[in-house]
Symmetry: C2
Subunit: 343 residues, 2 copies
């Protein structure tokens, strides 16, 4: 049986080939438009894990479908990831994406914002191509899944940005879970798995089970991402570490830390976190990092992530897979990878 990493790599390269050779335009007779096309191909050409297409294709196989039938849909999830990252990077003021300058750093906010919209529209256009092989009804069902996914993701992104903007700190773990489910779980795990199952024509029981799996595992994945952002190796991770502190993000680690520190520390912490990105000094950053290091906040959050992963595995194991058992077992390996990864 192929291992998880080589499978993710294999599926990712098939999906990238489809995106770059067939789904995205390469050149235009209009000179200026060529630059737009280059911008649209920029993030897709950067290295990435390709978790979402892997989950779509592998769930489809486990549920009794073929890899071929899910490949276009898997490519569209990857297109979603590309356009929303372009916009997220603008919203968060992120400098780096996958080890290189973010798109708006290279071309300015206005052109990058527009290129994200162009890529967003190409995603819907590509979904229409499912008609040829899956027929009209399945094509529309798949688009319905995408519609839900974008709704959830934009609501989650709004919650996170809104908390920073309104300087809200009266937040508990429940709020974090709710935000993460919307911001991360749907597009990272729940929808990719639901899409694979939909392409395979799975029952509503299977759809429900993979959705539960995805919602839980997505939060666990995000907790691990938050931890890597603080204590990860920037070279492996590919994004600037400590960015979440600079952006004032309400991570589970930070919310837990706030509950365990003294009132004086709490007030200094929130004061620092409330500052604009540009106003945070290196002393501010060191102060927050040292409090995190001397607390058990990262360890605490990782324990929660492991618990969520186990609940996710429970949902997965409740399914009687009609298809490829090796594929079902790869989904279990993925669950462990989501919380143990270093990148």
């Amino acid at each position: 049986m192929p291992d998880l990493q080589s499978e993710m790599k294999r599926v990712k390269s098939r999906v990238d080939e489809l995106i770059l050779s067939e789904l995205l335009p390469e050149s235009s007779p209009v000179r200026e438009v060529d630059l737009l096309y280059n911008m649209m191909r920029d993030y897709p050409a950067r290295p990435a894990k390709g978790m979402r297409p892997f989950l779509c294709v592998t769930t489809c196989r486990a549920a009794g479908g073929t890899e071929e039938s899910a490949l276009l849909t898997a490519a569209c999830i990857e297109l979603f990831q590309h356009w929303i990252l372009i916009h997220d990077d603008i919203e968060d003021g992120s400098e780096l994406r996958r080890g290189e300058p973010s798109l708006h750093r290279k071309y300015g906010d206005a052109l990058a914002l527009n290129a994200g919209d162009a890529l967003h529209a190409r995603m819907w256009g590509a979904l229409l191509l499912n008609q040829k092989t899956l027929g009209a009804d399945a094509t529309l069902r798949i688009m319905g899944e995408f519609s839900r996914m974008v709704n959830e993701t934009t609501e989650g992104q709004h919650m996170e940005l809104g908390w920073v903007r309104s300087r809200r700190w009266d937040l508990g773990e429940k709020d974090y879970f709710e935000m993460c489910t919307k911001k991360t779980s749907w597009y990272t795990v729940a929808t990719p798995c639901r899409l694979g199952a939909t392409v395979a024509g799975a029952s509503s029981e299977v759809l429900d089970a993979v959705q539960n799996f995805g919602v839980k595992l997505g939060v666990a994945f995000q907790i691990q991402d938050d931890a890597l952002n603080l204590v990860g190796d920037q070279k492996k991770y590919g994004k600037a570490t400590s960015d979440d502190i600079l952006e004032g993000k309400r991570t589970l680690i930070l919310l837990h830390l706030l509950e365990t520190v003294t009132p004086t520390e709490r007030s200094k912490l929130t004061e620092i976190m409330n500052k604009d990105r540009g106003s945070k000094s290196s002393d501010d950053l060191s102060y927050v990092l040292s409090l995190i290091e001397s607390s058990d906040a990262v360890g605490y959050a990782r324990k929660i992530a492991t618990g969520l992963m186990n609940e996710a595995l429970g949902s997965l194991r409740s399914v009687q897979w009609p298809g490829d058992k090796g594929a079902a077992s790869l989904l279990e390996s993925f669950a462990r990878f989501a919380v143990e990864r270093e990148w």
Copy 2:
């Protein structure tokens, strides 16, 4: 026969009702998400002409379909207009939209960008609702029209922004027409008319004819918009006048002016136009406006617009309308309005 203004108003109010009561969410159990929903409802609740839904519904009736069958699609064109204006206002740094502060002025760039994405996704979600009344195939054909429309519009927006960014002035009327066709014609006239005809099940001859009508009239519409931006009454117009000069836009008026002025004036003009929005002084603005006033540039552009309108009318009159003749005649009234309007 009802006149054009009352018909546009009537259709617009039906479409607004559909958008605000059925297509957009009103409140969420999650406190932060309520703000997102309010932001999504902000532009839809502001007064606007409603030209695009009018064109969709009226073309459908002229082509033998019913108003009811095209209403949801017409509402989705209006949703398109709302989300792309949110993003355009960020890209252009526009302060005013429909007489009020633009969305990013009210809530900041990050939340406004995300609200635009959320509204974009709601547009595709709403298009899926056509299945109930029009069936799967027509629903997918309509989505194909939307896909083309967003591709063209983002390419046109990129051309305009790209010219400013790369300080290109080696542009002629052909470049302007190409940019305007993409930026304005498709989403303002060509696609709304094609959609109405598609809902009515019109022949490919009718689709081609209304597309020609739309491409020509859309450019004429944009020329009039450029003129109003310079010499219009801000109260009627609803946007800040002279914004195009501040944004460095390559309008037909400006391109023509550049051909008629002395080399010294040309060099001073491009120097001013190349400055960032914030670096343009009121003297700079007065200089550009006085050159425009003392030239025939606005009159010249309006003549071109009238010529394009007549070509557009020629395409329209080539159609043997199988449906409502009054509706067909309203489309002719609209063509005249597009170039004669003061708002």
